[in-house]
């Protein structure tokens, strides 16, 4: 693992491309750096959910709300401190992470991290943001079945737990998102935020039904459709025999003949997901795995803000 100090202090880790970001360190460090950088860029305090019960003081940071500056401490010490309160958790967020075999694929394994790497770091970053603002965050990892489940909780321990579990996840098995979604819907008694991180190489009808089922139970749903650039654009080969790593199905394709048609088919599929999900209040965000994590984080934060 590379020394984190190699990163320029002036850089914004959340804006780094995933290939560079993957060299910075482990999931905890990267997530923390990304989140800090991301929040710095927002020019506002990450510490939302300040409630009436005072907890502690901490040194002022740029972007903190001026309303929470403890002027008394300023008078005493001539330094700015902001007051922090023990707030009550008002949101349960559940991160649904697809760990199927297809998620472990990268179109350029040497430089571009896999979709699973991207999803895990995105999930960790999201969890950190949510936990920092007092939400409780749970994790469900699934492929054909649910392989890992972490109950939603708040606090620093939960972050450590989530980071540890995320680090251990490996891409394997097929994809049956609808099973995990239904399992989650059955288990959640209280409405919350469900964030699905998947390449959506799933049975679309069943998955859509399950997502609508979650919405029917009052959950806010945010879908991150992770897309490797190699899935948008076919490789340069003139002809190739492609196979699905999950099903091992094969298809002999003359790439030159269908390159344009394939590009349009992918675009159509993405547009179709969006068109089908939006009427049901399900946010849908396509995330290219060669793009910075901040894009996904911003989408999540906007969603969180709408939820109050």
């Amino acid at each position: 693992m590379d020394d984190p100090r190699t990163v320029s202090p002036t850089s914004r880790p959340d804006l780094l491309d995933p290939a560079t970001l993957s060299q910075l360190g482990g999931i905890e460090f990267i997530a923390r750096e990304v989140v800090e950088g991301f929040l710095m860029g927002l020019h506002r305090s990450p510490h939302r959910g300040f409630s009436a019960e005072f907890a502690e003081l901490r040194a002022y940071q740029a972007g903190d709300d001026l309303r929470y500056i403890d002027w008394r401490m300023y008078g005493r010490s001539d330094r700015f401190y902001v007051k922090q309160f023990e707030e009550e958790t008002n949101l349960r967020a559940h991160l649904l992470l697809d760990v199927s075999e297809s998620m472990g694929w990268s179109s350029n394994p040497g430089t571009l991290p896999s979709k699973l790497w991207y999803a895990k770091h995105l999930a960790a970053s999201l969890a950190l943001i949510l936990l920092r603002q007092g939400d409780s965050v749970g994790l469900v990892a699934f492929h054909d079945t649910v392989v890992k489940r972490v109950q939603a909780r708040g606090g620093r321990r939960q972050w450590n737990e989530l980071a540890r579990r995320l680090t251990a996840l490996q891409a394997t098995g097929g994809t049956s998102a609808e099973g995990a979604l239904r399992d989650l819907a059955v288990r959640l008694r209280r409405a919350g935020l469900v964030v699905l991180l998947s390449d959506l190489l799933v049975r679309p009808d069943e998955t859509l039904t399950a997502l609508k089922f979650l919405r029917h139970h009052g959950h806010e749903v945010l879908v991150f459709h992770l897309l490797d650039p190699g899935e948008r654009e076919l490789p340069a080969a003139s002809e190739a025999r492609f196979y699905d790593p999950e099903t091992n199905d094969e298809l002999l394709v003359s790439v030159a003949d269908i390159r344009v048609e394939y590009r349009e088919a992918v675009a159509d599929a993405l547009a179709e997901w969006k068109r089908k999900l939006r009427p049901h209040g399900i946010d849908y965000q396509v995330i290219d795995t060669d793009r910075p994590l901040s894009l996904a984080l911003r989408a999540c934060l906007r969603k969180r803000e709408r939820l109050g």
Partner: protein, 649 residues
């Protein structure tokens, strides 16, 4: 369709490359992991027909490009309609026999035939090879020539007065083509297809060679002709004696009488009318010693050559003749008849101009200006004595008994007319014992053995040796009507006073008389007598005058062949029999140029093929790209097909 470079067509196998790539190469591509296989499947499913169709079109275009390139490289051409043809060896058989002088309409047949020949040459290329065979002048050589040289030869052709033998001409043409190195060969017959020009043959003379024959559809023209002229009933008149000229008109079925004139030494000596198929005689007044030239003619018609017949004879005094030894009854009787007719005068051997010697007796008595006819005795025991006398006379020939049996007809290129149709039952062998010091000539042969030979002995006397005794068991000559003519001819010829009264046809090879140094043709041209002592090229009827320095030694009249006056043509149905199975007839002049060069090819296709190939090579990538654009556009217009079907909420 054909190809000028057919070997290049082998490269057509190259079309297997795109076909192989299309069918098999795809199975050897690399295997790639690709989770989004469903998008590929969807794309393939939605565009399968378009993709397959486009691939098929592209495959066809690529194959077409190869085929077009191969076709261009092989220099393909269309058959039949163009002016080009592969290099061809062509024999132009032009029938310039006497009948080709027939005037049809406003032109002679020969002129039309020559024009057709020029049409052939107009369509010729520099790679073609030509021969010209003149059916009416078969003695002329046929040499391979270019089209330009052949055109000059064709232009120079004129109708001869000789007979045309198309069968022999075709056999000669076929023989010439067998020597040709070109693959494509053809015979063009330009003829009036006169029936008499074809001779019976066991096989078609042209064999299986392709033949294009001109078969004019012009109607037959009635032809009047004089078919014969005979002076003195076959015996040339003697000096101071009147004689008669018998003229025969050709039987044509017409009853109208033909006007007849007899001209002797440029003066009209008689006139009459003669119905076709009959003969009439015109009496000529006595003439002095010397050569007499004359002709009989009638009014000219469409075929003028046969409207006049020539005759020539020498009005001479009767030669002095002697006989020695046992010459036999037949010779004695013949001499008596000729003597009674004042055609010979009996003399002693020492004074004789012509000696008939049985067994060589009396040769020693003959003067140095005399000539001898030496006849062997039928008794072979007398041959040694004969041979001894020949030795004494300085004659290199020797007689010997030859064990031969069976009768044979006399033959020979210079066979004297009285010996024609003579059969020989028994003969002695004659061989040269020593190398002759003077030229000898074989006048007649029997079964390849010499039967009559002539020469000059050691004393400068001319001799004629016969291989048979002139008796009935040995030969048919003594008992035939030719016996008198033979003795008369021999006495006149060997006495130096021959008077030709034979009817000879134009085209006949004339043996030069002894002592002749040059010959004057009817055209006036004079030619030296060459070593063959034979005058060829006698295609024109008229007088051929032989000279010994400034002295006329012989005048020979050549006439048109009677058969040539019969203008009946063979029918088109018979052409395959008399010419060959590969014959194609043409009866319209405008069709001739298209009919000849039967391996004719149309215009070469290399440039349009190459152009099409270049166009396809340009279009192919454009079409591939255009196809994708088209499908993309089509796709945009279509309502997007959902990967997620409508599901009930």
């Amino acid at each position: 369709m054909g190809a000028l470079s057919p070997l290049f067509l082998v490269s057509i196998l190259a079309i297997g490359v795109p076909i192989y790539l299309h069918l098999f190469h795809r199975h050897e591509t690399r295997r790639l992991s690709f989770p989004a296989l469903r998008y590929l499947e969807r794309t393939e499913r939605d565009h399968a027909r378009q993709i397959r169709l486009r691939q098929l079109i592209l495959l066809v275009m690529r194959i077409a490009v190869l085929v077009l390139l191969v076709g261009a490289g092989a220099r393909l051409f269309f058959n039949g309609r163009g002016s080009a043809h592969p290099p061809t060896a062509v024999v132009l058989v032009i029938d310039n026999s006497m009948s080709s002088g027939l005037v049809v309409g406003e032109a002679r047949v020969i002129d039309r035939l020559k024009e057709l020949g020029r049409q052939t040459l107009d369509g010729a290329s520099d790679e073609d090879q030509f021969w010209v065979v003149r059916a009416g002048e078969p003695w002329l050589p046929a040499l391979p020539a270019s089209a330009a040289q052949t055109r000059e030869a064709v232009d120079a052709i004129e109708a001869s007065d000789a007979a045309g033998n198309l069968t022999a001409a075709l056999e000669r043409a076929a023989e010439l083509l067998r020597t040709a190195k070109l693959e494509h060969r053809e015979i063009h017959i330009l003829s009036d297809l006169q029936r008499t020009a074809f001779q019976p043959a066991q096989e078609a003379p042209a064999g299986t060679l392709p033949v294009v024959a001109w078969a004019s559809d012009a109607a037959s023209t009635p032809n009047h002709a004089l078919s014969g002229v005979l002076v003195g009933g076959g015996l040339p008149p003697l000096e101071g004696q009147p004689t008669a000229v018998t003229v025969t008109a050709l039987e044509t079925g017409d009853t109208s009488r033909l006007p007849l004139r007899v001209v002797v030494n440029d003066r009209i000596r008689g006139a009459a009318t003669i119905p076709p198929g009959s003969a009439t005689s015109v009496v000529l007044p006595p003439a002095g010693a010397g050569w007499v030239r004359g002709y009989a003619d009638t009014d000219p018609d469409a075929l003028r050559a046969d409207d006049r017949r020539y005759f020539a004879y020498r009005s001479r005094p009767a030669p002095h003749l002697a006989s020695t030894g046992d010459t036999g009854m037949f010779i004695d009787e013949a001499i008596s008849v000729l003597e009674s007719a004042n055609r010979v005068i009996r003399a002693r051997a020492a004074d004789a101009e012509f000696l008939i010697s049985a067994g060589g007796e009396g040769l020693d008595l003959l003067g140095v200006k005399g000539a001898a006819l030496i006849v062997p005795a039928s008794d072979p025991t007398l041959l040694p004595a004969l041979n001894r006398r020949l030795v004494d006379a300085g004659i290199p020939w020797r007689y010997e008994v030859r064990a031969r049996s069976g009768a044979a007809k006399l033959d020979g290129r210079t066979l004297p007319a009285p010996l024609e149709d003579v059969r020989v039952e028994a003969w002695y062998g004659m061989t040269l014992a020593t190398a002759p010091t003077t030229p000898t000539r074989t006048l007649a042969e029997v079964s390849t053995d010499p039967w009559a030979v002539q020469g000059t002995d050691a004393f400068g006397r001319r001799y004629l040796l016969l291989a048979s005794s002139l008796d009935a068991p040995s030969t048919t000559l003594p008992v035939s009507t030719g016996m008198l003519r033979f003795i008369d001819w021999a006495a006149g010829t060997w006495a130096g006073r021959a008077g030709s009264a034979d009817e000879l046809e134009a085209g006949t090879h004339l043996p030069a008389p002894v002592g002749a140094t040059h010959v004057r043709f009817p055209s006036g041209g004079e030619f030296k007598i060459d070593g063959t002592r034979t005058v060829r090229g006698t295609g024109k009827a008229g007088f051929y005058t032989f000279f010994a320095l400034d002295t006329t030694v012989a005048v020979v009249a050549l006439n048109t062949p009677v058969d040539e006056s019969d203008l009946e043509r063979v029918s088109e149905d018979e052409l395959s029999v008399v010419i060959g199975p590969g014959v194609v007839s043409v009866d319209r002049e405008q069709d001739w140029a298209r009919a000849v060069f039967r391996t004719r090819r149309g215009p070469e296709l290399w440039w349009p093929l190459l152009l099409a190939a270049v166009a396809l090579m340009t279009i192919e990538p454009l079409m591939a790209a255009a196809g994708r654009v088209a499908t993309s556009t089509q796709k945009r217009r279509k309502a997007p097909k959902s990967p997620v079907s409508d599901v009930a909420a």
